[in-house]
């Protein structure tokens, strides 16, 4: 056993003419906080979904905790937690009912679900429907649902997009805490300040490829710029992305 939590080799996925993921290889160490950065359409989400085992790669392999993530393997799924997007909630349920429902899908008790709600500071909103939560609260509930079964590996796709600065900082604390408990965390973002602050290492992607991998500080030094944002712009160019 190596201490690699995630090993990705030669991953490719195309949609018609679009090469959404075009030969991605990377390795994430156990306990690491790993960021996948890139402009819109770079292929971050597709990469993440291939790694999670949500889609079948055209080419390449993914091993999570030593096990292939495709084809679907329920034993592996018990050990990973995934947040797809904040609105992936069941219709017309309260926050408590949401998390308890997700908990029971993993065979986790209602008590543990309630404790998780407490951890993300939503006990006060337990009886509120998801549609009445603020953006930050919905995001925290969504993360709580991803964590309720105490996964070793956590995937978060743009968890802070669309949040106000307070909610973002609030969420950063939560993410640091999750990682601090020894979990491996992989997140995608296009906020460079966030990545610089949270991530042990980042992979900068564009057009389905990984352009550079490294510790934020090392990348800044290597390119001789002021911050990660400059690294990003230097690597991906300045032209406008849709």
């Amino acid at each position: 056993m190596t201490d690699a939590a995630i090993t990705v080799e030669g991953l490719r996925k195309r949609y018609g003419d679009v090469r959404a993921v075009d030969g991605v290889s990377l390795e994430v160490v156990s306990g690491e906080f790993y960021g996948i950065l890139g402009p819109n359409g770079a292929g971050k989400t597709t990469t993440l979904e291939l790694i999670e085992g949500l889609r079948e790669p055209d080419e390449g392999t993914v091993r999570l905790l030593g096990l292939p993530s495709w084809p679907r393997n329920p034993d592996l799924l018990r050990r990973i937690g995934v947040q797809l997007q904040s609105s992936a909630f069941f219709e017309k349920l309260t926050a408590r009912e949401q998390i308890r429902s997700f908990a029971s899908l993993y065979g986790v008790s209602a008590d543990r679900a309630d404790a998780m709600l407490e951890t993300v500071g939503l006990t006060g909103k337990a009886d509120v429907r998801d549609t009445e939560l603020s953006g930050g609260q919905a995001q925290r509930l969504s993360i709580a649902c991803a964590l309720v079964h105490d996964p070793e590996l956590v995937f978060l796709d743009e968890p802070t997009t669309g949040l106000d600065p307070q909610a973002r900082r609030n969420l950063w604390d939560l993410l640091r805490e999750i990682n601090g408990q020894g979990r491996t965390v992989v997140l995608t973002t296009h906020y460079m300040d966030e990545a610089e602050l949270l991530c042990d290492r980042v992979a900068v992607m564009d057009a389905g490829r990984v352009l550079r991998v490294g510790r934020p500080r090392d990348l800044i030094e290597e390119l001789g710029v002021a911050n990660l944002e400059d690294v990003f712009l230097r690597l991906t160019g300045r032209e406008y992305r849709e």
């Binding site: 999670e52 085992g53 329920p74 018990r78 995934v82 909630f89 069941f90 219709e91 349920l93 899908l105």
Partner: protein, 355 residues
């Protein structure tokens, strides 16, 4: 809680907390039954009204069972005022007046305005007299007539309305629920999220079928409970319980319709629109709201192709006409076959994500 029961709970709560869905699927069909049932209460029945004056032995000595059978064909009123009764007979308000002039001699006065009714009343009263005569001899009757109804012309409104509206309610409920779950869970990426949970796909399908069947059974119970109250007067025949497997098979058939519609639409609104456009005309053609005899004949072959038409007719058969396995079994088989074919098409068109 297991995945199956927690998904069932999620689906159940999602439904009963959706006021619009509850209204259209549970309340509205029941409201139709209550209103239409009251509206057409007197109609369609060719029951004759016979007024009894004073004591009439052959009528007074009828036991419960015979009385009930008799009330299928006529309404028996009792009066102490013969002149008034005869006046009402002349006015056409009642069909016959009967009294016992001297013990053993029955007097029957009827109006000839409606020959068919007059004949029916005469025949009925006559047969009662004959039965009483035979019974009085203390001998078993030398001749018996065994009858079987071929076509019940005298069907009462409720006997037709209850099965028809029930069929419609089942069709709407089952198709709406499965289409909604599919579209909503796809749009919210819950389908994907469940893919990443360590559950069997069978748990999702099983929960959906279980909740839909449970709801269909609740609809059946509510409908029958309303229809059998004396005001509406549906009299369940012996084989009424065959409506349970029929409703179950109908539910599966219309769940498949819902899946197909859910597979080709991307939003709940679109799915709902397509569903209404499919189910409402089908309900009309299948005789859910009024008897199909009033429809132009060329529609009949089209109606024959509709699963709801067969469900309605079979429900009417087992609930109101005393039909049994012979009616129910082929329809159940047909509905299951229909469900399998449509579900297979839906599976081919299935998408994980909205376009």
């Amino acid at each position: 809680m297991s995945a199956l029961s927690s998904l069932s709970k999620v689906m159940f709560l999602g439904l009963i907390r959706d006021r619009t869905a509850v209204f259209f699927m549970l309340v509205l069909p029941l409201l139709f039954l209550v209103l239409f049932g009251a509206l057409f209460q007197g109609e369609g029945g060719s029951r004759s009204t016979v007024v009894q004056y004073g004591e009439v032995t052959v009528l007074d000595e009828l036991d419960e069972e015979h009385l009930a059978a008799l009330s299928e064909a006529l309404v028996l009123e009792r009066t102490g005022d013969r002149e008034d009764a005869l006046e009402r007979l002349r006015a056409g308000e009642v069909d016959a007046v009967v009294w016992e002039e001297t013990p053993g001699t029955l007097e029957l006065r009827y109006s000839a305005a409606d020959e068919a009714r007059a004949g029916a009343v005469r025949g009925l009263v006559n047969s009662l007299v004959q039965d009483a005569n035979v019974a009085a001899t203390g001998q078993p009757p030398a001749f018996r007539m065994s009858t079987e109804r071929v076509e019940d012309e005298s069907i009462r409104a409720i006997q037709f309305l209850a099965p028809g509206l029930l069929g419609w309610a089942i069709a709407m409920g089952a198709s709406f629920m499965s289409a909604f779950t599919l579209v909503n869970w796809r749009r919210k990426r819950l389908l994907r999220r469940l893919w990443l949970a360590p559950i069997r796909p069978g748990a999702v399908v099983g929960a959906r079928i279980g909740v839909s069947l449970g709801l269909a059974m609740a609809q059946l119970v509510l409908f029958l409970a309303v229809a059998v109250i004396p005001f509406y007067g549906l009299r369940l025949t012996d084989m009424w319980w065959l409506s349970i497997p029929l409703v179950a098979c109908g539910t599966l058939a219309f769940m498949a319709v819902g899946l197909l519609i859910g597979a080709v639409t991307s939003t709940e609104e679109a799915a709902n629109g397509v569903l209404q456009a499919v189910i409402m005309p089908m309900a009309f053609l299948s005789g859910s709201f009024f008897p199909t005899e009033v429809m132009p004949g060329w529609l009949e072959p089209i109606a024959r192709l509709l699963p709801l038409k067969h469900l309605n007719e079979a429900l009417m058969g087992v609930l109101s006409r005393g039909e049994g396995w012979g009616t129910a079994l082929p329809v159940m088989g047909g509905l299951l076959l229909f469900a399998a074919v449509v579900a297979a098409i839906a599976a081919r068109l299935f998408r994980w994500e909205a376009k």
